[in-house]
Symmetry: C2
Subunit: 170 residues, 2 copies
């Protein structure tokens, strides 16, 4: 039920959340980025019940984020590999990791993201691909597109009104 | 049960997902960024059952993402405002929106993110804050920190092995 409602919402964020599924799915994708490919890899990494893992993997395959690849014919065995669509979720995991590191590690650092070239710790920032300007909440407006509903138009106007009197960041 | 397990995992991504809660929570945060503050705003926006909304708002307040602010004393009424910790989730929503726009809008565009200054459409990219180099999957290694478990060390080694023979992107 809920799934259907998210999938039919106009907001791309809502659809993205629906497509990914819930939190386990995101951790399965994290594991896929970190080299897990087989059912047992994921199960060992996540400590997740087999039937839950089966269901989440099926969801991710059905939604085009992972694809099955045979690695043995006799017996028939397959592993799960990120599709290009799945690979494009990497930035989401990077920024979630960063945010969690900043706010949710009171006991100290268990793991950081570092640059493979320099070994320097990475700290993510989201910028516009063309101008390289940081995309901050005070820079973003919504623009209704060709298939926008009245609700989207109202929301875009609401966001515009929020920032009307706030000077642009430099 | 699941919540506890996520919260105690060492991976900051797992903790972030636990802290945010499931998909409804992310959409509540989206609405907060877009100017919703009162229970009725969220309910109207999301079409979510009142008891579900109450539970999700409580989770977000308990986890320090939203805070309650009184706007009326008689009768006592409050609204929900993003905390700094909640505000720092904006980049996650930006990249999710973008990914959803690219992959999940077969019927055309209902809404885009545009720059408030120029009106140009925004396309997000995640870069390192210091070097401004794009953070792509082929650039990131994991480094175990002071409180890393053996499992984290193994995972870091697994990721390093994945990329060992792959040249660095320019």
């Amino acid at each position: 039920m809920r799934t259907t409602r998210f999938a039919t919402m106009e907001c791309p964020t809502a659809r993205a959340l629906d497509c990914i599924g819930e939190s386990w799915s995101m951790l399965i994708l994290r594991d896929a980025f970190q080299g897990c490919r087989r059912f047992d890899d994921f199960q060992q990494s996540l400590g997740i019940p087999a039937n839950t893992l089966t269901r989440r993997l099926k969801h991710l395959v059905d939604n085009g984020l992972l694809q099955k690849q045979a690695y043995s014919e006799r017996p028939p065995r397959h592993e799960y590999v990120l599709t290009p669509k799945g690979q494009e979720l990497f930035p989401v995991l990077v920024v979630l990791f960063d945010w969690g590191s900043r706010h949710l590690t009171p006991e100290g650092t268990a793991v950081s993201q570092i640059d493979r070239g320099s070994g320097a710790p990475l700290q993510s920032m989201v910028v516009d691909r063309h101008t390289r300007t940081p995309i901050t909440v005070d820079r973003v407006l919504l623009q209704p597109g060709p298939v926008a509903s009245e609700q989207v138009r109202q929301r875009a106007a609401q966001v515009e009104a929020l920032w009307k009197d706030v000077p642009l960041p430099e």
